[in-house]
């Protein structure tokens, strides 16, 4: 023990004689009394990595004095799956299926930022068909609603308010029904591809979107009615886990946490992509800078996202049918997807074409699908406004068909650094509130 070097996940007390208490959520007062009797000065409680309130597998080490937290450290890495390393061994297109699994609650945000990065490397940003850009915006906003609903819902559930969770998840399910009808999958969609999207809208797509909007709005109204006047929720969230603007700037915090301090920083406005500058929406802010205001902001953002979804539906209806991939056949994925009796796959027309009509088309399909396309050497940084904050990707190409390096700046990874400053000096019970108000997903944090 004494020869061990100090490291972040190590014991606070490097004293082999220090007594250890192993507690499984038993009677805390007994433990505290016993500790007091022994005259022990420091009590370190290990919360996680398996704990329902830590959004995956997060380990939090708390030093407590009675009910007060005096020191907090977060230990991450339990969900590290080497996605970035794996992406270096797959084609640029296959990378989409990997990065979508990072923050699995907001899958298509990663797909979007990754594909925008590749397109910048290829220099085809302006060639993306308008239809594809609208579908991307539609998906990004549905994802945002889903992510915020999970944040608010699980946040409520962690405080014992199960109805908030069930209501939020019903609303999220409504967005999933539309997402599934369009992409084929509820999450981990691999829908946004380099050059466009995997497929256009199904026949009843626009009608489905229009049917969904009032359903989700109704759930949001229900949640608002359930939450905003609830005295218990107010007591638990108001003035808890405060983080002011200067702390946000020092810790690089973005997203709802930053906007809750009054700074309306939203990349959809300041550095628009996919034509966001042409949509009509507001960026809600607050100056309360606590867990309550973050929750309210997330709800307000859902309403704004619904406004954008509505505009997307209008635009898609106006545009009618058309391409959803770049015209460049050297980059565009050759096949459209279609739903057959045995599940989703390449469309029958395409299969008929390559198998029965054109040898060249078969060769082209085979080359593009197995080998992929070359991306000119260089590096780019692309950032978008993810549901949880600034989501960035650093892509390096060596001119080949695979990324030389793909690094994601997950907003949760960065924002989780604020856990200590939010918790220290507060109550143990407020740690759960702080974690919920940061709203990170460990799949994205650990990648």
């Amino acid at each position: 023990m004494s020869t061990q070097t100090a490291h972040a996940t190590g014991a606070f007390v490097e004293d082999p004689d220090a007594p250890e208490y192993t507690v499984y959520g038993g009677d805390w007062s007994e433990v505290l009394d016993e500790a007091k009797r022994l005259g022990q000065q420091r009590i370190v409680v290990n919360m996680g990595p398996q704990h329902p309130s830590t959004h995956g597998v997060l380990r939090v080490m708390l030093e407590i004095e009675g009910e007060t937290v005096t020191e907090t450290r977060a230990g991450i890495g339990y969900l590290h799956t080497g996605i970035e390393k794996n992406m270096e061994f797959r084609t640029w297109t296959q990378g989409v299926t990997f990065c979508t699994r990072m923050d699995y609650v907001a899958s298509m945000s990663q797909e979007l930022v990754y594909c925008l990065g590749i397109e910048k490397l290829l220099g085809i940003t302006d060639d993306i068909p308008e239809r594809a850009s609208i579908l991307r915006v539609l998906m990004a906003e549905l994802t945002r609603i889903g992510s915020h609903l999970v944040a608010v819902g699980t946040g409520g559930n962690e405080l014992g308010a199960t109805t908030i969770m069930t209501t939020a998840f019903i609303g999220r399910e409504d967005t999933f029904r539309v997402i599934e009808a369009i992409t084929g999958l509820r999450t981990n969609n691999a829908y946004i591809r380099p050059g466009g999207v995997a497929q256009g809208l199904p026949d009843n797509g626009i009608a489905m979107i229009r049917e969904m909007i009032p359903l989700v709005r109704q759930r949001l109204d229900e949640l608002i009615a359930l939450q905003l006047k609830n005295p218990i929720l107010q007591g638990r969230l108001k003035g808890v886990a405060e983080l002011n603007l200067s702390a946000c700037m020092a810790l690089g915090i973005t997203g709802p946490i930053l906007r809750a301090t009054g700074l309306p920083y939203d990349l959809r406005k300041s550095d628009p992509y996919c034509g966001y500058e042409t949509y009509d929406f507001q960026v809600p802010t607050s100056t309360e800078q606590d867990a309550w205001s973050r929750m309210v902001l997330r709800m307000e953002e859902c309403y704004e996202s619904l406004k954008i979804v509505e505009q997307c539906a209008d635009r898609l209806e106006q545009l009618g049918d058309g391409p959803v991939m770049v015209a460049d056949k050297k980059i565009a994925w050759p096949a459209q997807l279609a739903l057959g009796p045995d599940g989703q796959g390449n469309s029958l027309d395409h299969i008929r074409h390559i198998m029965g009509e054109s040898m060249e088309a078969l060769i082209h399909h085979f080359k593009l699908v197995t080998e992929g396309f070359d991306v000119p050497a260089g590096q780019v940084y692309q950032a978008i406004e993810g549901p949880k904050g600034l989501l960035g990707v650093h892509l390096v190409s060596d001119g080949g068909t695979k990324p030389w390096r793909a690094h994601f700046r997950d907003p949760g990874f960065n924002n989780l650094q604020a856990l200590g400053i939010m918790c220290e000096g507060g109550q143990v019970a407020d740690v759960v509130v702080a974690i919920a108000s940061i709203d990170m997903v460990l799949g994205g944090v650990d990648r």
Binding site: H7, E84, Y265, Q417
Partner: protein, 225 residues
């Protein structure tokens, strides 16, 4: 500044030297003798365009005599500005970029390590994307160090938000950020040996049997280059 690249070096990053078109050696196609030296886009000539000239001018002025040494070269590619910085001057450059009112890059969006084994003497690169909210600009600082001497100053004293990002880059690439408050592994277990994101570190995986054939792990497969 372009002229001040280290002597005897092209001011370019050699990303990779590719031999052959496929993984296998000695194939009958003749393509196995194919050698391709892939390089990063080279140093840019003035004017750089957009706001890039202004930022480089102000930074040069603030750095004074050290400017030539600090800014190795400037690259403008795909509408993005990259400044290659000598590691001794990294902290000064960051401080100026953050504090000067005409630069004001308040946020560092982390650090991304990149391993270029072919780039002799500059194998490990650390890439710092900086974001200015005030001026709505983004630029990139890139610091290159040798594999045998993989050290550079930590920027956490200027950008505290880089704490975990630097730990991650140490964990995955083995770059030591000197002056970091607690440079411990963050994603891998504390007793892990090696730095997994480096190119000489294998991806791993096991061969999988499928319909009687054995499919090797992804990094062992015959693949396009």
């Amino acid at each position: 500044m372009q002229a001040s690249a280290p002597e005897g070096r092209q001011p370019l990053t050699l990303i990779n030297v590719r031999e052959g078109l496929f993984g296998a050696k000695g194939d009958t196609s003749g393509f196995d003798r194919f050698v391709d030296r892939v390089q990063m886009p080279g140093a840019a000539e003035r004017p750089y365009g957009e706001w890039f000239d202004g930022v480089v001018d102000i930074l040069t002025e603030l750095l004074g005599d050290a400017a030539d040494e600090a800014i190795e070269y400037v690259v403008v590619d795909r509408g993005e500005l990259t400044l290659y910085i000598a590691r001794e001057h990294l902290l000064d450059v960051c401080r100026h970029l953050r504090d000067d009112q005409d630069l004001r890059f308040e946020m560092c969006l982390g650090v991304s390590g990149v391993h270029y084994p072919a780039d002799t003497g500059r194998e490990l690169h650390a890439v710092f994307p900086l974001q200015s909210i005030t001026h709505n600009r983004r630029l990139r600082l890139e610091v290159a160090v040798a594999d045998g001497d993989a050290r550079m100053p930590s920027v956490t004293s200027v950008y505290p938000m880089n704490n975990w990002h630097e730990r991650e880059t140490w964990d995955f690439f083995g770059i030591v950020f000197e002056g970091h408050p607690s440079l411990a592994r963050i994603e891998m277990p504390d007793d892990w040996v090696g730095h997994p994101q480096r190119k000489d570190y294998p991806l791993g995986g096991i061969p999988v049997e499928y319909k009687g054939a054995e499919i090797p792990s992804p990094d062992e497969r015959r693949q396009y280059r």
